[in-house]
Amino acid sequence: MDRVSFEVLEGEFVAIVGPSGCGKSTVLNMIGGLVTPSAGAALVDGVPVKGAAPARVGYVFQKDTVFPWRSVARNIALGLEYRGVAAAERLRRVREAVTLAGLDGFEEAFPATLSGGMRQRVALMRTLVVDPEILLMDEPFGALDTHTKLTLHAELLALWEARRQTVIFVTHDLSEAITLADRIVVMTRRPGRVKLVHEVKLPRPREVIALRESDEYAREYGRLWHVLGEEFAASEALR
């Protein structure tokens, strides 16, 4: 990566897109403190990030990180448990989260019995239940089929509309970025740089399916695809 610089405002939903290997996940990991930049810094509220997992930051990984030895309810309760939230309060908030994620009836199920989409819902609710101000998401829906993905887009948007956390969402799926984000940071192929910061001028609240059929969506997609397509083609040629 080279001279990557961009700002994210409070309560904003920003997506980072770029060809694979461009360092978009690394940017996220720097903000999350999992990777220390060799030069420069990631600032949260003007303070440089030091050490892993700053408080108030939630992280949803691309990989399935639901604890396989814990039931759905006990997975969602993890963050509350770590923070020493009293059992009664914990139960109440977990129940709320379970309903919100449409996981009713699966509270006692172990992750091995759930589909990928349900597991990722658990991971999302587990992060949201502790109410982080900043939510980092690293291709959280990358491994899911299109239908499940769209459902989860709608659910994520609804949850976000209610809380308005600051979200930084890494993806290589352009349509996903347009559907979700206020602004899109387009990165170039390796060495990754910020090629363009694009503002998505689609009204909110967005309706995931209807949005895709609208002319505005097609226009946004066309414009971005043109920019990003160059990078994808170039990064393919390098292989």
Partner: protein
């Protein structure tokens, strides 16, 4: 007939056939009116009927040291050796598994001690701890510790870094990470070591008993005693008892494993 009953029936049939053949073959005389000359001599391998007779006698109140007492002594020592070995092996595996430098420092010692044939330690252990329960527990421990240690060590190293990260992002401190991520994740590996561990604990104990004499007690003592009196039937009683003890203990571990690791898909399908 279900597959299960079919398998059970075959098992029983094989047992009956073996016992029957044993009983029958050791009853045929080589030369008909000559006493004591057999094709297969029951002096060496005894006969099922004789073993059963001795079993009844040894469990009766007529003997000074009943079979029950001896079995109890063996089981007690085994359980203790197993418990101490598993807990120390688990703790050591966890610590060294999470501390690279410590692991590197201790590696040659562990490898050296582990490659030592444990039976060679018996005289030394006897010198230090005498012939009783303690010596047997120590012998079992020297074997079980390493089996559990190596597995837990691997397990603690194989912990998924992303699980640790996600715990940290959810607000976990180091001790909470240990409790909620590393221990449960390593436990799956530790459990794989438990079934061999219980068998090896039994080996350690019986080896101790073979040398321990009466003060050590146990089924191993019954074996040496039977050797002294050239009594194959009593020896068989001891061997069969040891086999049964081994089976029961292994089944107990399986049950425990099924409960504690019920989150694993392979246990789920087993239950279904």
């Amino acid at each position: 007939m279900t597959e299960r009953t079919r398998v059970t029936l075959w098992r029983v049939a094989i047992l009956v056939a073996l016992l029957g053949a044993w009983e029958w073959l050791t009853g045929i005389k080589a030369i008909s009116r000559m006493p004591g000359l057999y094709w297969i001599d029951p002096f060496f391998i005894s006969r099922p009927s004789e073993i059963a007779r001795r079993f009844v006698y040894l469990t009766s109140g007529e003997v000074r040291l009943s079979l029950w007492q001896m079995a109890l002594s063996t089981v007690q020592s085994t359980v203790w050796g197993f418990a101490v070995g598993v807990s120390t092996g688990f703790a050591a595996g966890l610590v060294l598994g999470r501390h690279d430098r410590l692991a590197r420092v201790f590696e040659p010692y562990i490898v050296a001690f582990n490659s030592l044939p444990r039976i060679a330690l018996v005289p030394l252990v006897t010198m230090i701890f005498g012939f009783g329960l303690l010596a047997k527990v120590v012998l079992a421990w020297t074997i079980v510790f390493f089996i559990v240690f190596f597995n837990t060590f691997q397990g603690a190293r194989a912990v998924d870094a992303d699980l640790v990260h996600s715990a940290r992002f959810l607000g976990a401190g180091e001790r909470q990470i240990l409790r909620t991520v590393i221990v449960p994740s390593a436990l799956a590996w530790t459990f794989a070591a438990l079934t061999p561990s219980i068998s090896f604990a039994l080996i350690g104990v019986v080896v101790g008993e073979l040398l321990g004499g009466e003060s050590g007690g146990g089924l191993g003592y019954l074996i040496t005693q039977s050797l002294g009196t050239l009594n194959a039937a009593d020896m068989m009683v001891a061997l069969v008892s040891l086999g049964l003890i081994g089976i029961v203990m292994a089944l107990g571990i399986k049950q425990l494993e099924r409960r504690l690791l019920r989150w694993r898909p392979e246990h789920r399908s087993e239950r279904a």
